[in-house]
């Protein structure tokens, strides 16, 4: 009698333990799905080309880590020869140009649309609104032609400007501006401030949080652009990191310097990942508020 009760107790206890452990188990499996593929490329970036080609490659962290990253950063692969530092500079200019440019242009446009009354306001609003609908991917060829007509192939302006088009930031800022009590604007006028002084001294400081959120999202968006730079950068000194990775990976399997390509891939992930980790709160707020 007592033993059966004991047994039942134990079974119940075990069930409870299992139920408690279950979410942890699932989440660890999820993390493993994310992390393992990345571990493989990290491991590859620490071995020699010969070790990787002699499949299966060793799965430990090899002794060539520093040597490979040094080559990647300062020299690049032999068949391409553009060092990661150059490409990282290009990616950074593109990502910052897109994120900062979009924020500045959108703040100004949203300020005009919300705080001013002018005849073409609705027209402006709808012309901006319609850009929400069409991703770059569907209008690449004609946009390419425009850029080439303007002589902007292989320039930073050509990399950046077409990516500033989309209206997401204008909408986020418009939404935010509309929630600001108008008495503040009126009071600033009565105090003798010009509209631009109001914008600079009062409105922009109030908009810090949405600006930070927008920055995270647009920085990642800019950093991860692929199709556009693929089209308009033909000179190695303008390659972004992602284009560089693609160039390193083209050619026969034996000729690819896998260890350098994988080191470059990891380095290409680093900056946007850091931005997300450091600004996680703003990032989540930005995602769930702008995109809905």
């Amino acid at each position: 009698m007592q033993t059966t009760m004991h047994k039942e107790n134990r079974a119940a206890h075990r069930l409870k333990m299992l139920r408690r452990a279950f979410p942890h188990l699932v989440l660890w499996v999820g993390i493993a799905i994310i992390v393992f593929p990345i571990y493989f490329i990290f491991s590859a970036s620490s071995h020699t080309s010969a070790e990787i080609l002699a499949a299966p490659m060793p799965l430990n962290i090899g002794p060539h880590l520093i040597e490979n990253y040094r080559q990647a950063l300062f020299e690049g692969t032999k068949n391409m020869g553009t060092p990661v530092l150059t490409m990282m500079k290009n990616s950074l200019i593109m990502a910052l140009g897109i994120s900062v440019g979009k924020i500045v242009v959108s703040l100004l446009a949203a300020f005009a649309i919300v705080f001013f009354k002018f005849p073409l306001r609705n027209f402006c609003f709808w012309s901006i609104f319609i850009t929400l609908m069409l991703p770059v991917e569907v209008r690449i060829m004609p946009t390419y032609k425009v850029i080439s007509d303007l002589g902007m192939l292989n320039t930073y302006a050509g990399l950046i400007l077409p990516m500033i088009v989309s209206a997401t930031a204008v909408f986020l800022f418009r939404q935010f501006f509309m929630s600001i009590p108008r008495e503040i604007a009126e009071a600033s006028q009565i105090d003798g401030a010009t509209p631009m002084e109001f914008f600079r001294e009062i409105l922009v400081p109030m908009t810090r949080t949405p600006v930070a959120a927008m920055f995270v999202i647009q920085f990642i968006y800019g950093w991860n652009q692929y199709l556009w730079p693929l089209l308009i950068t033909t000179k190695p000194e303008f390659y972004t990191l992602l284009i560089g990775i693609n160039r390193m990976m083209s050619g026969a399997d034996v000729q690819i310097e896998w260890q350098i390509a994988m080191a470059t891939t990891l380095l290409a992930m680093l900056p946007p990942v850091l931005v997300v980790l450091v600004m996680q709160k703003q990032f989540i707020a930005g995602m769930t508020e702008t995109e809905k």
């Binding site: 493989f40 002018f118 402006c124 850009t131 991917e137 991860n224 199709l227 992602l242 769930t288």
Partner: protein, 294 residues
């Protein structure tokens, strides 16, 4: 209600919207108009002559079995990615939303991959599954005796592309599902628990219906991602191989325009894609509107 206060200035607002409007017109309306125009012309690739051909570029496309094959594979691809990425991330978000130890650690670990680019996701999976050097390819070949040659086998190529594209999308879905789950009122779930509803019942009867706006939004966004934004994965892993079988529509626009220099056809394909996006957007807006007026 008092009238909203507005600044009065004759020129200033125009100066303020000018940069945005210039960019929108030069890089959006002009190219879009050119695409529409170009789609009615034939142009020889070395500059020069344009011949008006009416709807010929379109009718040729619609009669082309290659185009329909590309269309079919794009739909299959988008649907598979959506299903896989949404189910897995919903499941993970439900677990991470429970009151457990290390919850914020788990969340961070599942959110950061949002920053990984689509191309990098493709390269990572390509490296694991490369028939000559890949670790997983090695296991498939030697342990499971699979003849792993994804560049020669459509099914294998499709599976590899789908897995890598879904992997990339997990974090995005996770962020939204988590936000959606957090907005489900705890009191409702507690009340149901007191009434004796089991966890599964609570999920399907309370959480899932309340989550439906998030789910619908993600459904659209995932389909759009699978359909339009997976170019880097195709370009990085298969380049459309075997043959042209994994060349989704966006990849075909690029190949026909940039590689084959068939500008008329590429423009016509762009226009068709634009129409699809516009329809999808209208569909989404109407659905959301209906939700709001409920």
């Amino acid at each position: 209600m008092t009238k909203q206060y507005e600044f009065k200035a004759p020129v200033l607002p125009y100066l303020l919207v000018l940069p945005q409007m210039v960019i929108v017109f030069i890089f959006f309306f002009w190219p879009a108009a050119q695409a529409i125009m170009q789609s009615f012309y034939l142009q020889d690739p070395f500059g020069g002559k344009m011949i008006f051909v009416g709807f010929q570029n379109y009718s040729k496309l619609l009669a082309d079995p290659d185009y329909w094959m590309s269309f079919r594979v794009s739909v299959m691809f988008a649907v598979c990615i959506t299903a896989i990425a949404m189910i897995i991330s919903l499941f993970l978000a439900i677990q991470a939303n429970k009151r457990i130890k290390f919850a914020s650690f788990y969340k961070t670990m599942l959110i950061w991959p949002y920053a990984v680019s689509t191309l990098v996701a493709g390269v990572i999976w390509l490296f694991m599954f490369n028939p000559n050097v890949g670790v997983i390819a090695y296991v498939l070949k030697h342990t499971f005796k699979v003849n792993w040659q994804y560049l020669l086998n459509f099914d294998q190529a499709f599976i590899l592309l789908t897995l890598s594209a879904s992997w990339k999308q997990l974090a995005y879905n996770f962020v939204f599902f988590l936000a959606g789950l957090q907005s489900v009122p705890a009191t409702l779930l507690e009340a149901a628990e007191i009434d004796g509803a089991k966890p599964v019942t609570r999920f399907w009867r309370i959480t899932f219906p309340l989550l439906s706006p998030t789910t619908f939004y993600l459904l659209v966004m995932n389909l759009v991602y699978g359909f339009f934004e997976t170019f880097p994965i195709i370009h990085g892993i298969t380049q459309g191989a075997p043959g042209k079988s994994t060349g989704i529509l966006v990849y075909k626009v690029w190949r026909d325009g940039v590689i084959n220099l068939d500008l008329g056809s590429s423009a016509a394909q762009s226009v068709i894609l634009m129409i699809m996006v516009i329809l999808l957007t209208i569909f989404q807006f109407r659905f959301i509107e209906r939700k709001v007026t409920y």
